[in-house]
């Protein structure tokens, strides 16, 4: 599975793509695959604040509920409303089915996240046993 090299990744399987001031957040292809059929997404409202490492919402498959962890801190500028009625888009293409766009509080926070190559190694280890 190709992980875009212009994204950064968390150990909780979120991706973040930043242009320096704003950033787009979603979950990885690995995450959607482990979850199975996604049937519900709970996302914060525009204007609310999310904090790096803290939960900002949840995603549910038929079987399970998983928290979403913010890869970086910031104010929610936009929410992908399409996912409310079509959460299966995440299964179809997790790397384009974004969840929220935020205004970054500290772009430096992204430096601590994994690169595509590191993340690929990380999931290979996690999935390999």
């Amino acid at each position: 599975m190709p992980y875009p090299s212009d994204f950064k990744y968390t150990k909780e399987h979120e991706w973040i793509k930043s242009d320096g001031r704003t950033a787009t957040i979603g979950i990885t292809s690995y995450a959607q695959d482990s979850l199975g059929d996604i049937v519900f997404v709970d996302l914060p409202k525009p204007g609310s604040e999310i904090a790096a490492g803290k939960t900002f919402g949840s995603v549910e498959s038929v079987k399970a509920v998983s928290d979403l962890y913010a890869p970086a801190s910031g104010a929610v500028a936009e929410v992908n409303g399409e996912l409310a009625t079509a959460p299966e888009k995440i299964n179809k293409d997790a790397h384009s089915a974004w969840m929220v766009k935020i205004t970054l509080k500290d772009p430096g926070e992204l430096n601590s996240l994994m690169s595509a190559a590191d993340y690929e190694k990380f999931v290979a280890e996690e999935g390999g046993h």
Binding site: G36, D37, V39, F40, D42, V62, K63
Partner: protein
Amino acid sequence: MSAVEATTPLIRKTALNAVHRKMGARMVEFNGWDMPVEYPSAGGIIAEHNAVRSGVGIFDVSHMGDIRLQGPEALAAVQHISMNDASRLAIGQAQYSAMLYPQGTFVDDVIVHRLGEDEYLLVINAGTREKDFHWVRDNTRQFDGKAENLSDDFTQIAIQGPKGVELLQKLTDADLSAVKFYWVTRGTVCGLKNILIARTGYTAEDGFEIYVPSDEATSTMVWNRLLEAGSAFGVLPCGLGARNTLRLEGKLPLYGHEISDTINVWEAGLDRFCKMEKPEFVGRAALEKAKAAGLKRTLAGLEMVERGIARDGYKVLDEGGRKIGYVTSGSFAPFLKKNIALAYLPPEFAGLGSTIRVEIRGQGVKAQVVPTPFYKRPKKT
């Protein structure tokens, strides 16, 4: 010197375990068993669920247990330990029933099959296998006959869905059209003689459950033949995930959720399977008292009105935010495409159309009491 004791593996496997893994199933631990929850390569839970509603799916349900009661007083023994009336069973007929504690709560639910003049087969749940067998053995001692745990003898495969009958008919000489729902027959299946074929299931759909010898080679052969013969009908292998959503749409109880050792028959709404006109069975006296005392809670069907999925164990609140009950099972319903749940509520909140709230991550999310079962299979035309 210490003796080497045989150890019971912590996680048990069915004879089809290797087959599931080879098919890329996602495996989970369920009641001490390593079982497939879904087969992502076949489409996953939603596809599996809908295959059973519209076509056919096959399930490895070998983790279910089987107890045989046999002997001159087998009927009396069955009558003593189960709440339905087994005296009504003709040879070859089956019934849904339950075994109760003296308090009127559930040891387990069970399908009682009458296989012969004095021979009954009780099919029980995986998680309660040992407990059930001990309970049956201990409570039938006074009767002339024997109780045997045959749980490890069978690989049990469920063939479920409107196309199930056509699929299985391709592999057996038994005339399946002559087998009514909740009846059993025996026949040659995939060349194996004298196989027990029951028209039963746990999906709220027509279908069969077959009991084949539990060796790996035989089990694998039957499983693969079912998949091959079923390809014309779009058969899918189905895991416990779809089994759970299918049974939930049909409001079929699951032990540890809708029924347990703290829930009685009236609360669970299983009155029609409990024959109080039987003079005696374990739990009867307590049930009589409970009936006179009145219901404190009842199992209600919920449909979410606001966005959210109620999950097992979530609290149910009244409009004022006071806890009034709890969810026993809840999920997105793949065929109905709604978020549904079963919950124990005080009767005054359980009327059809009542609005209540389910606490989901700290929020009271609106839901409504709706008629159950959520799904009923269409009548044959």
